[in-house]
């Protein structure tokens, strides 16, 4: 029995205060967290929430980047395919020696195959989405070119001389340009495929089947696929062949330019991805600084509190025996 109620209450309070502190430190050590409530974080609440929200936002951006990278990679291969097909038929045309009759069947067969390759490449589909239809991803971009080709055939037929052939070529190309939507069925508006990858910044990308580079290439191929060789008007054929080579060259360069741009876009995504991952690592560290306990400091505190509590218990034991009733 302790002599006075005041002393008993104070001793009791001291012990319970120590026990509370010990329990709190033990909890901190076992959870490694400073507190399981926001108020326990003191003035660091906003930092904690802010950084966690920021971390998740970066996760979202990284996820978007991942999706966009798939889309970008998905479109890269068809572009290479188109460039290769264009290059191949351009080389075929260049290989035709002046003055000798070309093997028109072989040439047209190659042109037809190239048209099919390009059409197939532009109609590439990933998970039900067409990559070259602009934002109308449900729509297959390239349709049937036979109508256009029939018109081209009628335009370039019966050229009389080089000047006439050249004019007919231009007329045919212009017709293709003007009536491109007979062949291309995708989106023609101003919207682009895009995704948010930064605060307030959209990553826009995408090449549509109505890009000038493809139009020029297809037009040249359509002409060569439908022109006839006139042995009596070699200059006329030569003028058309020459213009077609230029058209294919221009289309090839345009496709290459797109591919180059594509590489830069992919690079930008890679750069952002690296930056965000670095930021997440930094955020993780800072969240730990705000929310996690200093284990070394807590271990020392734990030891101190244990010693204090033990001493308090000893004190109670001594006070209990220091009672006059025990000596009377």
């Amino acid at each position: 029995m302790i002599s006075t109620l005041g002393l008993a209450l104070r001793t009791q309070k001291n012990v319970s205060t120590l026990q509370e502190r010990l329990a709190k430190v033990q909890e901190q050590v076992s959870s490694t967290k400073i507190s399981d409530t926001y108020s326990g974080l003191g003035g660091q609440v906003r930092d904690s929430v802010d950084m966690r929200v920021q971390f998740k936002k970066l996760d979202t951006y990284l996820s978007n980047i991942g999706r966009l990278q798939v889309d970008v990679n998905q479109m890269e291969q068809p572009l290479l395919e188109i460039a290769d097909a264009t290059n191949s038929v351009r080389d075929d045309l260049l290989a035709q020696a002046n003055g000798t009759a070309p093997d028109m069947n072989a040439m047209k067969s190659a042109m037809s195959a190239a048209i099919d390759r390009m059409t197939g490449a532009l109609n590439v589909n990933l998970n039900g989405r067409y990559s070259f239809s602009g934002t109308n991803v449900a729509q297959q971009p390239m349709g049937d070119s036979s109508g256009l080709q029939a018109q081209v055939k009628s335009i370039v037929a019966g050229y009389t001389d080089a000047a006439d052939a050249s004019a007919k070529y231009d007329q045919a190309v212009q017709y293709v340009m003007d009536n491109w939507n007979d062949f291309y069925k995708g989106d023609t508006g101003t919207s682009q495929l895009s995704g948010l990858v930064e605060d307030g910044s959209t990553f826009s990308f995408g090449v549509r089947g109505d890009d000038d580079a493809f139009k020029k290439t297809f037009a040249a191929m359509f002409v060569m696929n439908n022109v006839d060789y006139d042995a009596g008007n070699k200059d006329g054929y030569e003028a058309i062949r020459s213009k077609a080579v230029d058209g294919l060259q221009s289309g090839f360069q345009g496709t290459n330019a797109i591919t180059g741009e594509w590489g830069r876009a992919a690079k930008r995504l890679d750069t952002l991805q690296t930056r965000y991952k670095d930021q997440q690592t930094l955020l993780n560290t800072r969240i730990g600084d705000v929310e996690d306990v200093d284990m070394a400091a807590k271990s020392v505190e734990l030891t101190n509190l244990q010693s204090q509590l033990q001493t308090s218990y000893q004190l109670i034991s001594m006070l209990k025996s220091m009672n006059l009733a025990n000596y009377l």
Binding site: S3, L5, T37, Y38, G40, V45, R67, R129, D187
Partner: protein, 480 residues
Amino acid sequence: MSLTSALLTASAALRNTQSNIDLTSRNIANASTEGYTRKVAQNVTQVVDGRAAAPLLSVPTRSVDEGVLRQMRTESSASGAATIKNDFLSRLEDLYGTPDAETALAHRVGSLQDAMTSLTSAPDSSESQAAVLDAATDVANTLNGTSSQILSLRREADQDIRDTVDGINTQLKQFQNIDAQISTRSALGQSTADLEDQRDTIMNNLSKVMDISYFRKDNGAIVLSTGTGRTLVDSTVFPLSYAGASIGADSSYPGTIPGITIGGVDITKDLRSGSLKGLVDLRDTILPQAQAQLDELAGTMISSFDAAGLSLFTDPQNATFAMPGDTVGVARRIGVSSTVQSEPWRLRDGSAATAQNANTADTTKLTAVIGAVFNTAQTFRTSGMGGGGTVTSGIEGSGTLAHYAESILTYQSSQTATVAQEKSFRETTFSTLQERNLNDSGVNVDTELTNLVQLQNAYSASAKVVSTLNQLFDDLLNMV
């Protein structure tokens, strides 16, 4: 001087010693009883015919430092208010979850923004659209749940006010009863010490729930008043009255919630401390403020999405929701638009679209909505909020939705921490004063045991005197 006189003196000494032993034994028995003060009876020497006769024992009295007691009661009141606030605010904080659980409103709003951002990379994906709807539902549910809990806490505070008022009135009656007994006994010259202990205990209990002031009258009775001087007991009881109210989100004091009155006079605003004051603060200020913050966020979410062309959230009670008129209680009602739920493509194309955009990957509208709602600073009211239009938000009036949601959390957690600190400080101060009071007026068993030894010796000595006198009387009688 005669042997008889000596015998009477010794006999009186024995009686006094017995009374003192009784007093000491009561002191020891109540040594651990809270509210019990040490009682002391003094031997008063009687002088008869110029000579000291058998001493008279005074009525037992107690030694109490009134100054310390008053200070202790003041701290008890402050501690009572802080304790009840801390209790409610801790429960309110529980609604916000733990830091690593990321279930707080700020995280929910962030998750909604993330889901919409994610949708920009796959705007035609039904899974991504569903994810946005899920995130929006989480935001609405969190607002609904937190708001409902705040209203429950307000109702609980109001019920506690009723119970506390009833408890105060019961204590006032007990006080009056004891006070009357003290007056009577004091007039008769009888000891009032134990009754005073009981009266002090009642006053101590009362001081925990409300701030009191008092003064002692000549007859030992006490006039008890509120801290601002409104009489509670002066021979008769002036009870507190509180009718209670059906608390809704728009309830406010003054207004739809009646006041706490004494004799028809509203004393609600006169309360300065004590758990009753804490409860009134919680019901009328702290919880309505938390409610108003949520309402402001919910209302701004509805209107900012509306303004951006995507009516993602709705108030089922107000088809044409408009701020500030429809704001009170909207956090409890807000829901995700059924139109958008049945036509999730509207997340991409907006609410004004008459049909789904053929360009299913067009993010123009979606990106604009994200920019307007999440990346643009919104304006939030800072005053004139709540049912009575008297609530202030305590949060800055401009910022993004996410920033405002973070501010709510920061504000509330800071308030909880401050109240917890105040509670701790008040409790420590109260404990110190209580200890001082107990040291001044409490029982020290060692002291009582020492007194007991003295009393035992005194009793033995007096008994020896009686024994000796008895022997003398025998001798005298034998001589005759």
